[in-house]
Amino acid sequence: MSHIGFIAAAYAITAIVLAGLVAWVIVDGRIQQAALGELERRGIRRTGRQRGGEAT
């Protein structure tokens, strides 16, 4: 009994969704880092930011 089409479709959809999730967090992270960097370049500082803390 072989249902290669069903197996291939299941693995392909899983790969696309999981790769999409990974790509989403990476791209979203870069967008947020860029937005934060732009605000800091304009001289805006976070309230309560600790000295020596992470730049983000």
């Binding site: 009994m1 072989s2 249902h3 290669i4 069903f6 197996i7 479709a9 299941a10 693995y11 959809i13 899983t14 969704v17 999981l18 999409g20 999730l21 990974v22 989403w24 967090v25 990476i26 979203d28 992270g29 947020q32 880092q33 937005a35 934060l36 605000l39 304009r42 805006i44 500082r45 976070r46 309230t47 600790q50 803390g53 992470e54 983000t56």
Partner: protein, 243 residues
């Protein structure tokens, strides 16, 4: 514990842990796929049993992700911890994706095995309800401009929705369903042959590691998003002329 779990410390800690999490997830996933494709074909299902190695971990993660949201919601309501809401919000889209995968791969497994893509039995319907719950939580978060104002109503809704998790788990025992009963986590031990059980468990660990990596990365993004929002509000307030 609460002092340790502040956003600044989380950002510093997660920055060093995240690359290892990504590497572990990729490595275990590769091993799991090799083991799954080397596992024997089922005597009844043939090679179609290969769908089990992605369907079952997806379904487990769909429920585990909601458990993370519910636990985080308790943190939001009881301790009002800022990281708790961040954790819940970051987990919701990931949980929605794993639930979607459980539904789609289950349907692709059901058609050749049951002869139908879908039946409105208790297991399938309760998982579909879980998917709709995820979409509802995401929609409610997005309905508020200020994430701090959204935290409590979303946490309450998430905890109400948690009642669906034991229903999903025990639906195959409580009702007569087309979906098979539990075959791994049973009081009398797994009913799957070890030659298939081990690849399944390795794939489950791989999916869990992948979830952890994506969740930590999404939490970092959410913290950054809130910082950007706070800084934009601060910048806008300095532009308002004094009365």
């Amino acid at each position: 514990m609460l002092e340790f779990a502040n956003p600044t410390r989380f950002m510093a800690l997660s920055r060093s842990v995240l690359p290892w999490l990504w590497a572990a997830a990729a490595g275990v996933l590769a091993i799991g796929l090799v083991l799954a494709f080397r596992a024997p074909a089922d005597y009844q299902q043939g090679l179609t049993v290969l769908i089990m190695y992605i369907h079952v971990p997806s379904a487990w993660l769909a429920m585990m992700c909601y458990a993370v949201i519910a636990t985080s919601s308790v943190g939001t309501l009881v301790w009002r911890h800022p990281l708790a809401d961040v954790s819940a919000r970051a987990a919701a889209p990931i949980g929605a994706c794993f639930t979607f995968l459980a539904l789609v791969t289950g349907s692709l497994w059901g058609k050749p095995m049951w002869g139908t893509w879908w039946v409105w039995d208790a297991r399938l319907t309760s998982v579909l309800l879980l998917f709709l719950m995820y979409l509802g939580l995401i929609a409610l978060w997005r309905a508020f401009d200020d994430p701090a104002r959204a935290a409590r109503p979303v946490a309450i809704l998430a905890l109400v929705g948690f009642v669906n998790i034991p229903i999903i788990k025990f639906s195959v025992d409580w009702w007569n369903t087309l979906h098979q009963p539990a075959s791994v986590f049973r009081f009398d031990g797994p009913t799957i042959d070890p030659s298939m059980l081990w690849p399944l468990m390795v794939m489950a660990v791989a999916f869990t590691l992948l979830f952890l990596a994506i969740h930590v990365a999404a939490m970092r993004n959410e913290i950054l998003r809130r910082r950007v929002r706070a800084m934009r509000v601060k910048a806008a307030s300095t532009l308002v002329p004094a009365e």
